[in-house]
Symmetry: C2
Subunit: 248 residues, 2 copies
């Protein structure tokens, strides 16, 4: 048996997220059905983490074990030939038996894109839409609140397992103006459920002058599941990269 580490990109528009569910079309399900056909027996894959419905990925990572004898190039070609065109394999690597896509992930980068091109049909599934002009320097100033190690209880799903730690470290949160809108780049050691979308929408509200820095500091410090009522649209979110030791 060999363990394979696979990096894949997907357009999440037509899927109910990464995770296999009984009555919904998921990216994991499509990949597992493809791999099970290739092997002629059931294959289960393990990802670095879930992505929600409508969220995209440029560099999601998963692993699985195989008894098939193919090299990395032919693995990639075989998988891509069997996958729908909205899921594409970027890279296949042989890894040691103890590699684990989730437990060994040391860092992640997510980008969140927002545009004011509300009547551009090509942005609808790929960026969050915001009609109002955003004050980028105000957003950059407020973004500093989140950088560092914090308890992010205020910026995650209220349903999260109470026994799990909500302490995470954001090492970078950059906000850049681009041709079609604004890109927020989040780099950290891990992110809780909805955390990036909740922080992104909070920063959008700051860009609209609906919130000031002190409001955001108070929200973060309250460690209260009800403190943040903002959550950005899923189509603005991209899982860009998962790191297993290297730089992000």
């Amino acid at each position: 048996m060999k363990r394979l580490k696979v990096t894949c990109a997907y357009d999440g528009t037509d899927y109910q997220g990464w995770q296999r569910q009984s009555h919904a079309h998921s990216i994991q399900e499509v990949l597992e059905i493809m791999l099970s056909k290739l092997h002629q027996h059931a294959i289960t894959i393990t990802a670095s983490g879930r992505t929600d419905a409508g969220v995209h990925a440029l560099g999601q990572v998963f692993h699985f074990d195989t008894d098939k004898d193919l090299d990395e190039y032919h693995w990639q070609a075989a998988m891509n030939s069997m996958l729908p065109k909205d899921i594409r394999i970027q890279k296949v690597e042989f890894v040691s038996d103890d590699f684990h896509a989730r437990f060994m992930a040391q860092g992640k980068r997510y980008d969140y894109l927002v545009t004011n091109r509300v009547n551009d049909p090509f942005c609808q599934n790929y960026m969050a839409l915001e009609r109002q002009a955003l004050d980028v320097p105000a957003m950059q100033e407020c973004a500093k609140v989140f950088v560092g190690t914090h308890d992010f209880t205020s910026f995650t799903s209220a349903k999260i397992d109470p026994r799990k730690s909500r302490v995470k470290t954001i090492t970078q949160l950059l906000i850049k103006e681009e041709a079609h809108g604004i890109r927020m780049i989040f780099v950290g050691n891990g992110f809780l459920r909805y955390m990036v979308r909740m922080i992104a929408q909070t920063l959008i509200e700051a860009g609209k002058h609906e919130l000031i820095k002190e409001d955001i500091v108070a929200m973060l410090e309250s460690r209260d599941k009800q403190a943040c009522r903002y959550k950005g649209a899923p189509q603005g979110l991209y899982l860009v990269e998962v790191s297993y030791g290297g730089e992000l």
Copy 2:
């Protein structure tokens, strides 16, 4: 009654082209159903021309007559609120009763996009895919063959009405390298069915050194419906603008 000129953009991925057909989902049908609901009686619209299945538009133009009393801003808002998000109204203008979106179109711009990012899921529906590297200067040299007034019989559907003129004028055919691939810009007084896609793929073949300039000159001069067996993928094509007198 007032005549309205409407400029719209659409992501053609999920449609069987512009034109209403009995057993297929078309952009015209979606717009006519929306307008008929708004008016509570049947409305027919007339476009500058058709686009094929999978082809996109940034600036398609159509007209229709209305007895409703709305200003341009509210017309746009009303239509966009009732349309799916892959069809968006860009502009609404009151025009004189003799305006005709098809007969009065004086020029059109189409762009054709091709990329070698064959494993990028975000390009699959929005650019033509070509694995091989393309020689852009060779493409630019061959593009000159098409500029000017020519009988384009060799570069259109074999099924075209034999009584119609196949003489068209291309005023510009630019080939530009961009971040994600190559953009070909076609400007002319009108284009025959499949003409842009057939010329675009012919130029891609030139970029792969499968054709040289002399081959292309011979194809054009033969005025033979069988001369060109190339036709670019529809998802690379965008109707960018229709001109009614101004500059393109």
